[in-house]
């Protein structure tokens, strides 16, 4: 019986762009236990709700995370709108869906890059990030920001997209799709990548369910969990199909993300075909009084925004439950019994977003 050693992993680690720390208890090359610790970048954004009014808070929600900035904004706005019973115009709902799907595309492409970097395929990382640029340019042209979009507001959106621009977006996404086909073929077929991913980090459907997995992690294990099925924003008018794989390993999670990226591009195409004319926002009167849970599907899974107002301009409570946080128990389960060399891989296939997790 080998002696137990503790290997510290993170918060600064070459494969992890974000600070999360694990104490890996190892026996030889096997991980027998993993103790996570977070809160290296806690910023106290939820507490800010006591100092900013509910309109300004949109900008704070926007800044929770860089990759899913728009989804946080959307979740928060939906919650406030539900409390204040605001009917958002249909065009605004469609625009929200388009930006949300574009966010998903760029987040997943970023993940391809990060994952490629984690298993040591650096040129693939560069190819991925070059493709991501297309989406960021679309963001800049339509919203004025590349990362923090700042277009969502309580009662609608702040900018409209003209019909010609929408057509332009679709044609650019089509050419992106061709390039993505080439990129994803590497992920699907490459021998070395398969060697690093197939059978690594397996989690069964039952475990994924009991440990509360969300997003691609749950879908790769065969759970068809997709909050877009709730029909928020314009998803009720679009054909949303959860991408489900059954293998439950790192490779399955990678496949789920690849298929989702293509599906998101398709959803943008659908939305641009169906988008109605009309106003993009309504005037907001009064203050929120009540509470609401808003559930939104982020690239990483389901995010819950809880908002509670007491009739004043300043909200009483704002709470975010992010997908990475609910995936951590499953991550621990997967890490136990894995090889030390596979740890970065396993953590990366979860797509942890620590700045979301700690707010």
């Amino acid at each position: 019986m080998a002696r137990k050693n503790i290997i510290p992993f993170g918060p600064q680690h070459p494969v992890l762009p974000e600070p999360i720390h694990f104490d890996l208890v190892t026996e030889d090359e096997k991980v027998v236990d993993a103790l996570p610790s977070i809160s290296y970048v806690h910023r106290g954004l939820e507490r800010l709700v006591e100092k900013r009014d509910f309109v300004d808070m949109v900008h704070v929600a926007d800044r929770i995370c860089g990759l899913c900035s728009f989804m946080h904004c959307l979740g928060y706005c939906q919650a406030v709108e539900a409390i204040m019973k605001i009917e958002v115009p249909e065009r605004a709902l469609y625009l929200r869906s388009i930006w949300a799907e574009l966010s998903r595309v760029h987040s997943h492409i970023f993940w391809f890059g990060a994952a490629a970097d984690a298993f040591g395929f650096e040129s693939l990382f560069m190819q991925s990030l070059r493709l991501r640029e297309t989406v960021l340019d679309i963001f800049e042209e339509t919203t004025g920001g590349r990362v923090i979009l700042g277009v969502c507001k309580v009662g609608g959106v702040r900018r409209d997209i003209s019909t010609e621009t929408l057509k332009g977006i679709v044609s650019r996404l089509n050419s992106l799709k061709v390039q993505l086909d080439e990129l994803s073929a590497v992920f699907i077929n490459d021998y070395s990548i398969k060697h690093r991913l197939v059978g690594v980090g397996y989690i069964s459907k039952e475990d994924a369910y009991t440990l509360g997995c969300v997003g691609p992690m749950a879908r790769a294990s065969g759970l068809a969990l997709d909050m877009r099925a709730l029909g928020y924003a314009a998803y009720k008018y679009l054909d949303v199909e959860p991408m489900v794989e059954s293998a439950g390993d790192c490779y399955a999670r990678c496949l789920v993300r690849i298929r989702e990226t293509f599906h998101s591009i398709d959803l943008v195409r659908q939305a641009t075909g169906k988008i109605p004319e009309g106003p993009v926002d309504v005037k907001v009167k009064g203050t929120p009084n009540g509470e609401y849970f808003s559930r939104v599907e982020q690239p990483r899974g389901e995010v819950i925004h809880y908002v509670k107002g007491n009739g004043s301009k300043i909200l009483q409570r704002f709470r975010v439950r992010v997908p990475t946080f609910s995936n951590i128990p499953a991550m621990i389960k997967v890490l136990k019994g894995s090889e030390v060399a596979d740890v970065p891989n396993i953590i990366l296939t979860l797509d942890p977003c620590i700045s979301c997790t700690e707010r």
Binding site: D56, H59, E140, E141, G144, G145, I148, G150, R158
Partner: protein
């Protein structure tokens, strides 16, 4: 893979060669807030709307101030301005060190004519 390799060899770098070729920003890129001080009526709506409290408007001495390091370029002040004297430029303000922070506060002062004094 062969296709990607040949394409990369023939097409040159995907990045811009910076000092030679500068990046062009779109017309709506949120860079920095500018004020046309002559049209400003010093109503103070922008400073009240600002989520980061970066703008300070003093009516008495006809002064409009913005702390560039606090400003998050959200465009709210530009949208709310009743006389449309604020505008969002698509270029960033030049970078500053903390030692130069005082210089980051941009002040615009309206020249008061002799007759109105």
């Amino acid at each position: 893979m062969t296709k990607t390799v040949t394409k990369n060899l023939l097409s040159g770098p995907a990045t811009l060669m910076y000092p030679k070729r500068k990046r062009t920003f779109t017309a709506i890129t949120r860079g920095r807030v500018e004020v046309d001080i002559d049209r400003c009526i010093f109503c103070g709506l922008c400073s009240r709307r600002c989520p980061t409290y970066a703008i300070k408007v003093t009516k008495d001495c006809k002064e409009w101030q913005i702390d560039r390091l606090k400003c998050c370029s959200c465009n709210l002040c530009v949208e709310i301005c009743p006389v449309k004297c604020l505008s969002m430029e698509n270029q960033y303000s030049p970078a500053l060190t903390l030692a130069e922070k005082a210089a980051a506060i941009y002040t615009a002062r309206k020249v008061v004519e002799a007759s109105s004094k």
